[in-house]
């Protein structure tokens, strides 16, 4: 047996791969569900917080900054573990799936709030003044004039952050979520062969590579000539 054959036997074992393909595929479905939930709720909550913050109500802003800084500082895995093992003590018993979703959504919310906020504040004051001088209200100015420009500035850092945090769905394996990595590692221990892990890696690539490419497309779409 050549070195290559031994390598293939170990990491690309067709029998093992064939056997565990359905498990990996069901993991893909779970990962997609989790990722979509995290992205939609995390970014909407982040945007909502940034909009609230722009209203400039002091005590509310301190609260927002406090929450945001908390979730930006904690490693996502710590948040997952805290929610999964901590909340049952408060009478709530979220599943691993819900714990992972909530944790990653909070973390994405925190980072996207900061990114949106940075975008909003970097829009020139003259834009506010021009819009307000024509009679637009604060809210109309924010929505029609400032936010579209803030989005343009926010999109590159936002897509990066979103991809990084969404890949964190793999952390769910720690609290028994049957997503890709969870399925791959249990298949690996059942088969005494790491081939399922290679399938898992491939599944992540198939899933996230298009997202990365789409992000690049969105970034160019949202750029405009000054």
């Amino acid at each position: 047996m050549s070195t290559w054959d031994r390598f293939a036997e170990t990491f690309l074992n067709a029998t093992v791969m064939h056997r565990y393909l359905p498990d990996i595929l069901s993991g893909v479905v779970v990962t997609i569900e989790l990722a979509l939930l995290v992205v939609v709720t995390g970014i909407s909550a982040g945007l909502a917080l940034a909009l609230l913050r722009s209203a400039g109500i002091r005590p509310l802003n301190w609260l927002i900054i406090g929450v945001v800084d908390l979730f930006r500082s904690l490693p996502p895995l710590v948040v997952i573990v805290l929610i999964y093992f901590g909340l049952p003590a408060a009478g709530l018993g979220p599943s691993g799936f819900v714990s992972t979703w909530l944790s990653l959504a909070f973390v994405l919310m925190a980072f996207s709030e900061e990114i949106f906020w940075a975008g909003i504040t970097s829009v020139d004051r003259g834009q506010w003044e021009a819009a307000r001088s024509t009679g637009l209200s604060f809210g109309q100015t924010l929505l029609n004039v400032v936010l579209p420009q803030a989005f343009r500035l926010a999109i590159p850092p936002l897509t990066n952050r979103t991809i990084a945090i969404t890949k964190g769905t793999a952390l769910g394996t720690v609290v028994a979520v049957t997503e890709i990595l969870g399925q791959a590692s249990s298949a690996m221990s059942n088969s005494y062969n790491p081939s399922p892990l290679m399938m898992g890696a491939a599944a992540y690539l198939v899933l996230f590579l298009p997202v990365v490419v789409a992000a690049r497309f969105i970034e160019t779409r949202f750029a405009w000539k000054r």
Partner: protein
Amino acid sequence: MRVALNGPIVDARAVHKHFGALHVLKGVDLRVAERELVFVIGPSGSGKSTLLRCLNRLEEPSSGSVVVDGIDMLDPSTDINHARQRIGMVFQSFNLYPHMTALGNVTLALRLVAGKSRGEAEALGRAALERVGLADRAGHTPGQLSGGQQQRVAIARAIALEPRVMLFDEPTSALDPELVGSVLEVMRALRESGMTMIVVSHEMGFARNAADRVVFMDEGAIVEEGPPAAIFERPAHERTRAFIGQIQRH
């Protein structure tokens, strides 16, 4: 609240403005009649721009009163967004919305504030662009326009709302010299149409042949005012003389 129907269209009295410890406006009185073009000149930091911005309440005066077209601008019960529709403003740095076309810039407030339908707003917007000579640039974004064209779009954005008064805050200061003329041309046409205008600017030539009255400000107060010929040829105050001497040396 409507205060007076006759009399000056802009009536600012004893306007004070503090920025922290800085006393920027020290009791300025400015009355402007309908169809009048008032030119405000003065050294930088004299408070001319702040005065202008107090008239549409972009700056909140610390005390005093501002009545524009019979509306008390400082009354908390005044619908400020509605009142601002009557006061057009043009800024030094144009402040066009970069993510919209020229037409989009002009129609935004028509739709959102004046409540026009998209079709009506576009017709009015095109008419306004026509008035500043840019009907053929309606679909261009600000990035595709020269500085002079951008400033004319900004003027169109303001006049499309049919304001009673137009405020110009150094409208040509950010422009290359060869582009200044086109903006002054539009301002002259606007004046001929009977628009009441208050202009903060260093374009003394324009002041000389278009202004009804020139107001000289220094250190937050009006030092003197009068017809352009009087202010430029026979200034009464030493400070006015010094300022005009300096301007004309260049």
